[in-house]
């Protein structure tokens, strides 16, 4: 048997109690679109699955005290169709609208995408650029972790789903001078993993023509989703111009370290990283109020 027992819980406390009693033999399941296949293939083990997808406190998107909060069991469909997110984080709506297929998006969750820890997890790339914080609870208490600290290798998360539950993902709601964008390169428009994906979140000062705050995230160009810190520095080092763009894109070329895989070769990915960063930057700048060619 792939798993011996399956429990559906109504609250986070109930789930934590079960996980505690199972001493590592239990595992949290939400949408299960990745986990079911991994359990069938023997890549992950669990004697009992604890299903948190119907816990109401884990579902939904709210705007409180300048923060956008997303319950970890919110599905990709719910995120991509949320008008609150289209306004405040178009990069995240766009990222979630490109995951898998409609069937996968209807059941797969953002919390699951994080825990699954793929180097090019679309929602994670967008959340990394949004500087999101994940709230994780276990029997030992609650911790708020920056999303960038949750990955230690391809498919390896520091969240231990035999005892931890991701409850919420939050980030600052964007102001009118800010913009975010997400671009993805893949072989097909659906049902296809990304060859590369890139998310950008920035703040624009139109008085001084300068990018005052910038985060660029990219995958899969390292064993985990990463920020391009050097590229960010280059973009914010001077007043913005196409010359500055060219210099910064060269930094991006140096900063990424993709590998060759069936989806794309190292050299191709390395070149295309520049193209994707450029597209995402131009889109985010436009949203933030930058006037092209002024």
């Amino acid at each position: 048997m792939f798993w011996d027992d399956y429990l559906r819980v109504e609250s986070v406390d109930e789930a934590l109690d079960y996980l505690d009693r199972l001493h590592g033999a239990g595992r949290v399941i939400a949408g299960g679109t990745d986990l079911v296949l991994q359990l069938q293939a023997g890549q992950k083990k669990a004697s009992c699955l604890v299903d948190v997808s119907s816990v109401s406190s884990l579902c939904g998107i709210t705007h409180k005290n300048g923060k956008i909060c997303i319950g970890a069991a919110t599905t990709h469909s719910q995120i991509s169709s949320s008008s609150l997110l289209t306004t405040n984080a178009p990069s995240l709506s766009e990222a979630c609208s490109q995951i898998g297929s409609p069937q996968i998006r209807n059941i797969g969750t953002v919390g699951g995408n994080i825990v699954n820890a793929q180097p090019a997890a679309d929602s994670v790339i967008a959340l990394l650029a949004l500087n999101a914080t994940c709230t994780i609870v276990s029997k030992n208490g609650l911790r708020d972790m920056p999303i960038g600290t949750l990955f230690s290798g391809p498919g390896i998360s520091t969240i231990d789903s035999t005892q931890d539950i991701v409850t919420e993902i939050s980030f600052d709601a964007v102001s009118s001078s800010a913009g975010s964008a997400f671009y993805r390169l893949s072989r097909r428009k659906a049902g296809s993993l990304p060859i590369l994906n890139c998310a950008v979140c920035l703040r624009w000062n139109s008085e001084e023509d300068i990018i005052t705050e910038l985060r660029i995230a990219m995958g899969p160009v390292a064993p985990t989703p990463i920020r391009l810190y050097e590229t960010e520095k280059a973009f914010t080092s001077d007043t913005f111009s196409m010359k500055l763009m060219r210099e910064a894109l060269n930094k991006a070329f140096d900063e990424v370290n993709p590998r060759s895989s069936l989806r794309g070769g190292r050299e191709y990915r390395n070149e295309m990283a520049k193209v994707l960063v450029k597209r995402a930057m131009l889109k985010a700048l436009e949203i933030a109020g930058w006037k092209n060619g002024r």
């Binding site: 048997m1 399956y6 559906r8 299960g32 297929s101 409609p102 069937q103 059941i107 659906a190 049902g191």
Partner: protein, 164 residues
């Protein structure tokens, strides 16, 4: 004798209530096909790529090959067998026949449900929206043009009941 390794779940499938005793690691697809005998839902790739196992669970289109049966406890499910009424095909089924949108037929159950899921939410979708709605369903015969035409004809309210 009661098998303690089995769980009892209740589901409403195509309007009928069922109580099923099932091993907790069975998938919804297998429960539908093997326990309820509803073999209209097909197994294709078995890993959520091809969409031929698509069903509508509580109003949402999902791949039943990725859904543990236990997740369906208490839910309402529509499979291809539940589309037609007494003696009448569903307008989407009529449109598929009218437009020749069925070739080998293996993808058809999933395509029909993807189309229903779209039209329930948006009765007048654009071609782009139709393409997106069936983007999780592969047709090995590559008969997409006719499938898209069929879905469009339902949304336009074309006379689909008059096959010749």
């Amino acid at each position: 004798m009661v098998d303690k390794s089995k769980k009892t779940i209740r589901v409403k499938v195509n309007g009928a209530e069922h109580t099923v005793s099932i091993r907790p690691d069975r998938l919804l697809l297998d429960m539908l096909r093997e326990d309820l005998g509803l073999t209209g839902t097909k197994r294709g790739c078995g890993n959520g790529k091809c969409g031929t196992c698509s069903i509508i669970m509580d109003g949402k289109l999902v791949d039943s090959c990725l859904v543990p049966a236990m997740k369906a406890d208490g839910s309402e499910i529509l499979t291809v067998e539940g589309l037609a009424g007494e003696g009448d095909l569903h307008p989407i089924q009529e449109a598929f026949l009218e437009k020749g949108a069925v070739q080998c037929g293996f993808c058809t159950p999933g395509m029909l449900l993807a189309a229903k899921s779209l039209l329930d939410e948006n009765p007048d979708p654009s071609i782009e929206r139709i393409k997106e709605a069936i983007s999780g369903n592969l047709c090995r015969c590559t008969g997409y043009t006719k499938i898209i035409e069929a879905i469009e004809s339902v949304s336009k309210g074309d006379e689909t009941g008059q096959r010749t």
